[in-house]
C-alpha cells in the first residue's frame, strides 16, 4: 500500500503546482452553485434538501472530470516523464492506483469545498442529512467512475486533447443511456428488452436512486465494478504499450 500512497501524495500536490488546479476548483464551485440556484431553482422549490444541487453533478462531471483525467497518462507520455516513472520500482497496478486516487481525492476536495451549501440548507431548514451524505457518496462515486474511464483513455494516447474529447464523449454516452432521450432515439431499432438492459447500464438511474437517499448496495457495487473495470483496463493498456 505504501508505494501507492507515495505516488498519490506526489500526484495530488502536483495539481497545485500549476494554476490549473485552482481554476478547476473555482470553476467547479461556481458552476455547481449557478446550476443549483438558477437552473435548479433552489429557493423556489422551498424545500430543505440538496436535490437541485446534486441533480446537475453528473452533467458537470461530463465537462470537468475529463479535464482532470486527460493529463494522467497522456502528459507523462508527451513530456517523456513516463520513462522515469515506469523505471521506478512500482508495479503497473500501483502506478494506476496511485494516480487514480490522487485525481479522485482532488475531485473529493472540490466536493468538500461545497460544504457551505450544506451548512446553508441546515441553517435555513432541517434537511434529511442522511440523504445528503448518501448523495455526496453517490456524486463522489460517479466522479470516480468517470475518472477511471478517463484514466484508461488517457493511457491510450499521447495527446491530452484526444483524451479529453474521448472521455467527455464516453461519459456523455454513459449518462445518456440512463436518461429518457437515448432509448427514445433507438425505440424503432431495439426491442423493449434491450432498451431495458441498456438503461440498466445508464449511470443516471443508479445515481438518482442513491440521491433519493436509498442506500442500495447494488448501486454502489455498480459504480465500484465500473471503476475496477476501467482501472484494470488502464493497467492492460499500459502493459500492452510496453510491448508495442
Amino acid at each position: 500500500m505504501k508505494p501507492v500512497l507515495i505516488l498519490t501524495k506526489r500526484e495530488f500536490f502536483a495539481y497545485f503546482a500549476t494554476p490549473a488546479a485552482w481554476i478547476f476548483l473555482i470553476t467547479f464551485l461556481m458552476l455547481s452553485a449557478l446550476l443549483t440556484f438558477y437552473a435548479g431553482n433552489f429557493f423556489g422549490r422551498n424545500q430543505a434538501d440538496l436535490q437541485s444541487f446534486f441533480l446537475f453533478h453528473p452533467w458537470l462531471y461530463v465537462l470537468l472530470v475529463p479535464a482532470v483525467s486527460m493529463r494522467l497518462w497522456a502528459e507523462e507520455r508527451r513530456t517523456g516523464t513516463i520513462e522515469m516513472l515506469m523505471t521506478l520500482p512500482f508495479s503497473t497496478t500501483e502506478l494506476v492506483l496511485g494516480k487514480f486516487l490522487a485525481a479522485w481525492l482532488f475531485i473529493g476536495l472540490g466536493l468538500a469545498l461545497t460544504a457551505p451549501i450544506w451548512i446553508t440548507v441546515n441553517y435555513l431548514g432541517s434537511p434529511d442529512n442522511g440523504v445528503i451524505i448518501v448523495s455526496y457518496l453517490a456524486t463522489f462515486l460517479i466522479a470516480g467512475t468517470f475518472l477511471s474511464l478517463g484514466s484508461c483513455l488517457s493511457a491510450c494516447t499521447k495527446s491530452q486533447m484526444v483524451a479529453f474529447v474521448l472521455t467527455m464523449t464516453a461519459c456523455f454516452v454513459l449518462i445518456l443511456l440512463g436518461s429518457d432521450t437515448l432509448p427514445v432515439l433507438f425505440s424503432d431499432m431495439a426491442t423493449e428488452k434491450t432498451l431495458k438492459a441498456l438503461r440498466s447500464f445508464g449511470f443516471l438511474m443508479h445515481f438518482t436512486s442513491l440521491t433519493r437517499g436509498v442506500l442500495d448496495l447494488r448501486d454502489i457495487l455498480f459504480f465500484v465494478s465500473f471503476i475496477t473495470l476501467f482501472l484494470f483496463g488502464t493497467i492492460v493498456v499500459l502493459d500492452r504499450k510496453k510491448a508495442l
Binding site: T79, E83, M84, M86, T87, A243
Partner: protein, 319 residues
C-alpha cells in the same frame, strides 16, 4: 550482473534490436556505442523494464526482468536519454519523491538526498523548479535521480549529452569514483568518453553487435585513417608537395588553405599505417621547414564508418 540472451525487439515490422546477446560483469563500465537508430536506447529501455523484448531473456542480478520487473527496477538506477523529470517540481521535492519511491524514508531519505546533492553539486538549485533549470542542471538532476539509492546496476543513456566541457569532466570523474562494485552501461557519442571512463566498448549497428573490445582497441581502429595536417611556408610548399606526392603511404593529398605565407595540406594515409615519423624525417632532411603539424583527432563517426559501412564486415570482432 546484466545478461542479455538473444534479445530481439521489433517495432511493427522494424527490428530495432536483433538477436542481441552480451553480459556485463561487476566492476565493468560498458561503453555502448553506435550510430543513431542503432538500437542503444531500445536496449537500455528493455534492461530497465520500460519496454519488453519481443523475444529473448534479460536477467539483472540473476532476476528475469519479465518475471519480476519491480525487483529488477529496485537494483537499477536508470537515467533516460532526455532525463525527463517533472517540470513543475522543485529539485528538492523531486529528489525526495524519488528517494521515497526507492524505499528510503525519514533519516535514510534525508541522508540519501543530502549526499546526492553534495555529490552532484546541486546546492544552488534545490529550491528551483526543474523547468527553470539549464540543460546541464536538468541532466544532473536526471543523474542524481538514478544514483540516489546507490544502485548496483547503473544504466545511463547519454549522460553527458548537451553538457559543457567542465560539466562533462565532472560527470566523468563522478562515474569513475562510483564505478567500483557496480555494473554500468553508458551510451555515448563521444569517443574520448569511452577512453576516459569505460573498461569495455561495444558498438552496435542495426540492432547487432559489430565490435566488442577494449576502449584501446577501439581507439587504435579509429586511428587507422586519421588525417595528418602539415602547414608549410609558402616558398617551400612546392617542394613539400613533391615529397608528399612521392611518399608511398598516402592515399589522398589535399590543399586546404593557402595564405600569403603558408600552405596547409591534409594528408590521408592508407589504412593501418602511421607515416607521421617518416614524413617529418623526410621533410627535415630536405630542409623543409614545418610551420605547424597536427594529427586529426579520432572521431567516433570514423569508427562507426569503419565498422558499419560494409555489410560483410558485420561479424563480431573480438579485439
Amino acid at each position: 550482473m546484466i545478461d542479455l540472451e538473444h534479445v530481439t525487439r521489433k517495432f511493427g515490422p522494424f527490428k530495432a534490436v536483433d538477436d542481441l546477446s552480451f553480459s556485463v560483469k561487476k566492476g565493468e563500465v560498458l561503453g555502448f556505442l553506435g550510430p543513431n537508430g542503432a538500437g542503444k536506447t531500445t536496449t537500455m529501455r528493455m534492461i530497465s523494464g520500460f519496454l519488453t523484448p519481443t523475444s529473448g531473456t534479460i536477467k539483472v542480478c540473476g532476476i528475469d526482468v519479465a518475471e519480476d520487473p519491480v525487483a529488477v527496477k529496485r537494483v537499477i538506477g536508470y537515467m533516460p536519454e532526455h532525463a525527463s523529470s517533472y517540470p513543475d517540481m522543485t529539485v528538492l521535492s523531486f529528489l525526495n519523491f524519488i528517494a521515497e519511491a526507492r524505499g528510503l524514508f525519514d533519516s535514510a531519505k534525508e541522508k540519501a538526498v543530502e549526499s546526492i546533492i553534495d555529490q552532484i553539486s546541486l546546492h544552488s538549485v534545490i529550491y528551483q523548479t526543474i523547468d527553470t533549470l539549464s540543460k546541464g542542471y536538468k541532466r544532473r538532476v536526471g543523474l542524481a535521480q538514478a544514483l540516489i539509492h546507490n544502485p548496483e546496476i547503473l544504466i545511463l543513456d547519454e549522460p553527458t549529452e548537451g553538457l559543457d566541457p567542465n560539466q562533462k569532466k565532472e560527470i566523468r570523474s563522478l562515474i569513475r569514483r562510483i564505478r567500483e562494485n557496480k555494473a554500468i552501461i553508458i551510451s555515448t557519442h563521444v569517443l574520448e568518453e569511452v577512453d576516459a571512463i569505460c573498461t569495455r566498448a561495444v558498438i552496435i549497428d542495426k540492432g547487432k553487435i559489430v565490435l566488442d573490445g577494449t576502449p584501446q582497441s577501439l581507439l587504435t581502429k579509429s586511428q587507422n585513417r586519421k588525417a595528418l595536417f602539415f602547414r608549410l611556408p609558402e616558398y617551400q610548399a612546392q617542394r613539400g608537395k613533391a615529397v608528399f606526392d612521392e611518399f608511398p603511404g598516402l592515399e589522398k593529398i589535399e590543399t586546404i588553405e593557402t595564405t600569403d605565407k603558408t600552405v596547409l595540406y591534409r594528408l590521408t594515409p592508407v589504412r593501418q599505417s602511421n607515416p607521421v615519423g617518416d614524413l617529418v624525417e623526410i621533410l627535415h632532411r630536405q630542409n623543409i621547414e614545418i610551420t605547424d603539424m597536427y594529427v586529426e583527432k579520432a572521431r567516433l563517426e570514423d569508427v562507426f564508418y569503419a565498422y558499419t559501412s560494409s555489410e560483410h564486415e558485420t561479424k563480431v570482432e573480438q579485439a
